[in-house]
């Protein structure tokens, strides 16, 4: 039976008419036009649909939209603030971590979850942190570099904030 639920996505509340069986990925993409979240496999294997729910990584293709009421959802569209890219996003561009771009949104969100928890990750921690996101284009080398670079940028910004 269809019903109206309120979803909080990227800090904004949306009233959405859904059926209980609707998956978060389809609601994001089809009802809210938040198409940055990708559907690479629909089975939880590729990580292209990764979003953060209450700060934790989640696969939107295995998540019921109805179960997200009252929770904070962050999608790729919520990473930039006032048109300024998040340092992780900028690092992905600058370090050549983007090729076809299909894994990129999920990869960026996995990187965010990683850096929120480990601001200065080791190489292994970076690889572990993105191990749920397949990339067929890059061989991951430049993605790992970008995450390392993003960590340094975020650290520098934090230090700068302390100084001021």
């Amino acid at each position: 039976m269809k019903r109206v639920i309120e979803l909080t996505i990227n800090g904004s509340a949306y009233d959405v008419v859904i059926s209980p069986q609707d998956l978060l990925i389809d609601v994001l993409r089809q009802k809210l036009d938040l198409t940055g979240t990708k559907k690479g496999c629909g089975q939880g294997d590729c990580g292209t649909c990764t979003v953060l729910i209450d700060g934790r990584r989640a696969l939107a293709c295995l998540t019921l939209a109805i179960a997200c009421e009252g929770r904070q959802i962050l999608t790729i569209e919520g990473m930039e603030k006032h048109g300024v890219l998040h340092p992780i996003q900028q690092a992905f561009i600058d370090k050549g971590a983007i090729q076809c771009g299909y894994c990129t949104p999920g990869m960026v969100l996995s990187a965010k979850a990683l850096l929120d928890e480990h601001p200065a990750p080791t190489e292994h921690e970076i690889k572990l942190g993105i191990s749920g996101n397949l990339c067929r284009c890059t061989g991951y080398v430049k993605i790992v570099e970008a995450v390392r670079d993003a960590a340094a940028r975020l650290q520098a910004a934090a230090d700068c904030g302390k100084g001021a």
Partner: protein, 291 residues
């Protein structure tokens, strides 16, 4: 793929949950992390009329009290197990198992209750839990009962849970004195793997004699469910933790398991790997106790 239609229920108390289960029985499925259930509904393996979500229930706690052991709420995520300091200190094999499940995303979503109740032959949590003598608390409107996990899982995706019951928590007794537990899965890739085989061991040494006092070994992905290596366990107890004893026990493990040939590996390879893993894990565990 779209999911088949169902009604979604999110009870606010365990009493309410028990009531819903009593009312809907086989017509409902419990949703925790959803990493298995959603896939199975998409594949139309399940077409429940009701999906009952545990998310509003206080079932995610992990507590440890000396003398009473460890209690893991059914909805505790695999990630929370992996990060729990008490589990890392006292039940290291569980951290090893939790850290190997799926991907960071899956670990953040999937729960211990789901991993036990879905009873996949290659599930990572049951082998170490079984070696740690874990019991599951099953609750219904009729009351509560506790069942050893080993008896709870009865087959490939089959358990002893009644249609009106839910798994409330997993209880693990205090670690044995002078013991250590270890777990190792084995797959092709370093992440996102479905195990070819896995072995968990939990052994205690007699501090006076230095001999194996107690031993439990469980093997995953080599039988319809995580199985004990009873003969191998028996071969350890009372013997010195020498390379020879361990090698012998490992050999017995590889004989005891009942693997099949499939896409992921041949039965003979699985058998061999079980032996290698058992030897490595027993050595690691003994080293951990004696160091």
């Amino acid at each position: 793929m779209s999911l088949p239609p169902f009604e979604y229920l999110a009870p606010g108390s365990t009493a309410e949950l028990a009531g819903l289960l009593a009312a809907h029985r086989e017509r409902c499925r419990i949703l925790a992390g959803g990493t298995d259930l959603v896939n199975w509904m998409a594949e139309k393996i399940y077409r429940p009329d009701y999906v009952i979500d545990l998310r509003k229930l206080p079932l995610a706690a992990i507590t440890y009290e000396k003398g009473r052991g460890l209690t893991i709420g059914a909805a505790a995520t695999i990630e929370s197990l992996e990060r729990s300091p008490v589990i890392r200190e006292f039940y290291y094999a569980l951290v090893q198992a939790a850290g190997q499940i799926g991907s960071p995303q899956i670990r953040a979503m999937a729960t211990i209750g789901g991993n036990c109740c879905n009873a996949s032959p290659c599930a990572d949590m049951p082998p170490p839990l079984i070696t740690l003598e874990a019991r599951v608390a099953l609750t219904s409107a009729r009351g509560s009962r506790e069942v050893p996990l080993e008896e709870f899982i009865t087959g490939n995706r089959q358990t002893a849970i009644a249609p009106d019951e839910f798994l409330e928590c997993v209880r693990v007794p205090d670690p044995w004195p002078h013991s250590a537990c270890r777990y190792s899965p084995f797959g092709l890739r370093a992440a996102q793997e479905i195990d070819i085989a896995s072995v968990a061991v939990n052994v205690a040494l007699d501090p006076a004699t230095g001999l194996f006092a107690k031993a439990r070994i469980a093997m995953g992905a080599v039988a319809p469910f995580a199985m004990r290596a009873l003969k191998a366990e028996a071969s350890l107890v009372g013997n010195a933790p020498s390379g020879e004893t361990i090698d012998q026990a490992a050999l017995v493990c590889s004989r005891e398991c009942r693997p099949i040939d499939d896409l992921r590996a041949s039965a003979s390879y699985r058998r061999h790997i079980v032996g290698v893993l058992a030897r490595r894990m027993l050595r690691d565990a003994v080293a951990a106790i004696t160091s």
